[in-house]
């Protein structure tokens, strides 16, 4: 398993070998067109949403809706959105949820991954089985709902954190990485009298930044994107995370039943929610992912592969 790490060669420039014939030009062109279309399919909607969020009422009216070509920079949608009201509150809620939840999840995951990384330790096999069995047997929606409500977590943010605070998949990812660390390092620290806590903190963790970054991103994205749990457990719309607000704000017209109560956005009722404000909400919902992304993306291949390909 840990082999997978070392067998991924760095992406080098692939020059055509001497024996390799040049591909037919039409094939090359076809490939480029397909890839360009794929990239456009991702970037174009995002572009149009950003441009619309920055457009004035007259531009939106002239375009008849979504804007593609920017004419001017109008920040009023963002000003309105951040001027208190449900969207700013939901943003704070989601931020708190994401930071707190990710910290808790990482702590649980790293500790358990280290605790399970030593074959031959007491109870190792049965404990490992205990964790892995969660992949094969899982609770349905109804019992989970009854447990969470039975613990009195309904309408608290804990309902959005605790039930999914530990992903066993992420745990195994980190554990696999830990097991690949040369045992000599750990043994020598032990001979020097370091405790397990000290070894984890001073030796194992500094060597595992890549995997912790990727797993942290997975957790953070999970918390930021939390939607269905909010539908299930959060009736109080002062506690709604941003995805829930986005849904009620933009898709509610499409699916009013899901929104539950009629949409009521305090602070924005005086100002009719124009398309620009809606798109501004979309932009701020996308933004955190875009901001963290560059720092983590170079670890993706590593992170995904330890879990996905057997060494």
């Amino acid at each position: 398993m840990s082999q997978a790490l070392s067998t991924i060669p760095p992406p080098a420039r692939r020059r055509r070998a001497a024996w390799e014939e040049a591909p037919p030009r039409i094939e090359d062109a076809g490939k480029s067109v397909v890839l360009a279309l794929v990239v456009l399919a991702v970037l174009f909607p995002m572009w149009s949403v950003v441009v619309t969020s920055l457009a004035s009422r007259s531009t939106i009216n002239a375009a008849g809706g979504m804007v593609v070509i920017p004419r001017e920079l109008d920040l009023s949608a963002y000003v309105t959105m951040f001027h208190g009201g449900q969207v700013s509150r939901a943003l704070w809620t989601s931020l708190l949820l994401t930071l707190g939840g990710t910290a808790l999840s990482l702590a649980l995951t790293v500790l358990a991954a280290y605790g399970l990384s030593r074959p031959g330790s007491i109870g190792h096999r049965s404990l490992l089985m205990y964790f892995l069995l969660t992949f094969l047997v899982y609770p349905g929606l109804v019992p989970s709902y009854l447990v969470v409500t039975g613990l009195g977590l309904k309408d608290t943010l804990w309902a959005l954190i605790l039930p999914n605070a530990l992903s066993v998949f992420n745990l195994m990812l980190v554990r696999t990485f830990f097991m690949g660390i040369p045992s000599e390092l750990i043994d020598s620290a032990r001979i020097d009298g370091a405790s397990e806590w000290r070894i984890l903190w001073s030796i194992v963790l500094p060597l595992s930044r890549a995997v912790v970054a990727v797993v942290g991103l997975f957790y953070a994205v999970g918390y930021w994107n939390a939607y269905f749990n909010a539908v299930l457990y959060i009736d109080d719309n002062d506690l709604w995370p941003i995805q829930r607000v986005l849904q009620s704000f933009i898709l509610a017209g499409q699916s009013p039943h899901v929104a539950g109560a009629p949409v009521n956005l305090p602070g924005l009722t005086a100002y009719p929610p124009t398309l620009a404000i809606k798109m501004a909400v979309v932009v701020v919902t996308v933004l955190p992912a875009l901001l963290v992304y560059p720092f983590v993306q170079r670890h993706f291949t590593k992170g995904v592969l330890i879990g996905a390909v057997k060494g």
């Binding site: 991924i8 992406p11 020059r15 070998a17 024996w19 591909p23 490939k31 890839l35 794929v38 399919a41 991702v42 909607p45 995002m46 149009s48 809706g65 979504m66 649980l108 995951t109 500790l111 358990a112 399970l116 030593r118 074959p119 031959g120 330790s121 205990y130 892995l132 969660t134 609770p139 349905g140 929606l141 109804v142 019992p143 009854l146 447990v147 409500t149 605790l162 530990l166 195994m172 990812l173 554990r175 690949g180 045992s183 397990e196 994205v221 930021w224 939607y227 269905f228 995805q243 898709l251 499409q254 899901v258 979309v282 919902t285 996308v286 291949t301 592969l305 330890i306 879990g307 390909v309």
Partner: protein, 331 residues
């Protein structure tokens, strides 16, 4: 996603070999910190995974949460009704409809979505400039991190009745057709959304498998006169085969889960005869009307079928000579 099961790494065995001979008490003292570190995660799973999993027993009860002091108390006091909940469930045409929808979505996506990441990986692998390749990869991975609410918002704003496409068509005198509310094209729509979100992310695994193929194989084949397409067929695809089989098994084992939020969010726009899947069925027919017993029965049915499917698919993979998801632990 794979379950990495390795109970023994060679280095680790060497590390602990003498330890197994020391007496139990000394081992406990030595390993106590490890147990302590594992405890919080284990407790959390007990509470939010294993407790509800055993809570599935209410599928055989007429569960009434208002009996007793707590949910557990109510469980003890509720009446056992045998298979009555399953009879109710299996007599409900809406249940069979949701099961049919779920399976047709799974099969459709297995044919029309599953091969696309392989194709994308092949295309990306052929991009010679590392800078361009890196750029394209970063762009196509991105939507994986968007929530379903966002993905569907993008689709609504682009292709919906008031979206960009419809507004352009209208301005040029065409009548836009309803792409997002039409039950008969719903299968295409959800697949397009899933592709948009995850085709890039899905290609990572195949890209890595591609770069792990020994280049000398290609060279030898070329020397023997194999052209580009024959090399693709006889070297590249066999090289990808283990990964393809593995992911197909996992998908098959998960056949009854097609994702939840995507359908919940569009169920009202499209109508439940097309968009009701097993998970949304449980939500709307059990949680909303508080039919706990029937809902638990549906959940139990789903996990049992899932378990059978994944074990069966794994056995099939072994028969095909592939490693599958898990093997018996060695040593």
């Amino acid at each position: 996603m794979t379950i990495p099961v390795s109970t023994s790494a060679p280095a680790a065995i060497a590390r602990t070999a003498p330890a197994t001979r020391s007496p139990w008490r000394a081992r406990l003292r030595r390993d106590a910190p490890l147990l302590l570190m594992t405890a919080p995660a284990a407790l959390l799973l007990l509470l939010f995974h294993y407790a509800p999993t055993s809570g599935n027993l209410i599928a055989f009860q007429d569960y009434n949460p208002f009996l007793g002091e707590s949910a557990f108390d109510a469980f003890l006091q509720s009446e056992w009704v045998g298979l009555a909940n399953f009879q109710v469930l299996f007599a409900d045409p809406a249940f069979w409809e949701s099961l049919r929808n779920t399976l047709s979505i799974t099969l459709f996506q297995l044919v029309f979505f599953f091969p696309l990441p392989v194709v994308l990986a092949l295309l990306l692998h052929g991009v010679a400039s590392p800078r361009w390749r890196g750029f394209i990869q970063n762009v196509v991975y991105l939507p994986h991190f968007f929530s379903w609410v966002l993905v569907i918002t993008f689709f609504v704003q682009m292709l919906g009745g008031a979206g960009l496409l419809a507004q352009e068509l209208r301005q040029h005198g065409f009548v836009p057709w309803e792409l997002l509310t039409n039950p008969s094209t719903f299968l295409l729509l959800v697949t397009a959304e899933a592709v948009w979100k995850d085709v890039g992310w899905g290609s990572i695994v195949f890209l890595a498998a591609l770069s792990a193929i020994d280049p000398s194989l290609y060279e030898a084949a070329a020397v023997d006169g194999a052209g580009r397409w024959r090399r693709l067929w006889h070297i590249t695809l066999p090289g990808l085969r283990p990964v393809i089989v593995l992911l197909a098994i996992l998908r098959l084992g998960d056949a009854l889960s097609v994702g939840f939020e995507q359908y919940l969010l569009q169920r009202d726009a499209v109508g439940q005869q097309a968009a009701e899947v097993l998970d949304t069925y449980v939500y709307f027919h059990a949680i909303v009307p508080q039919q706990w017993g029937v809902g638990a029965a549906a959940g139990l049915f789903k996990s049992l079928v899932g378990l059978v499917l994944i074990l069966g698919a794994n056995r099939l993979a072994h028969r095909l000579g592939e490693a599958g998801i898990y093997q018996k632990a060695r040593g």
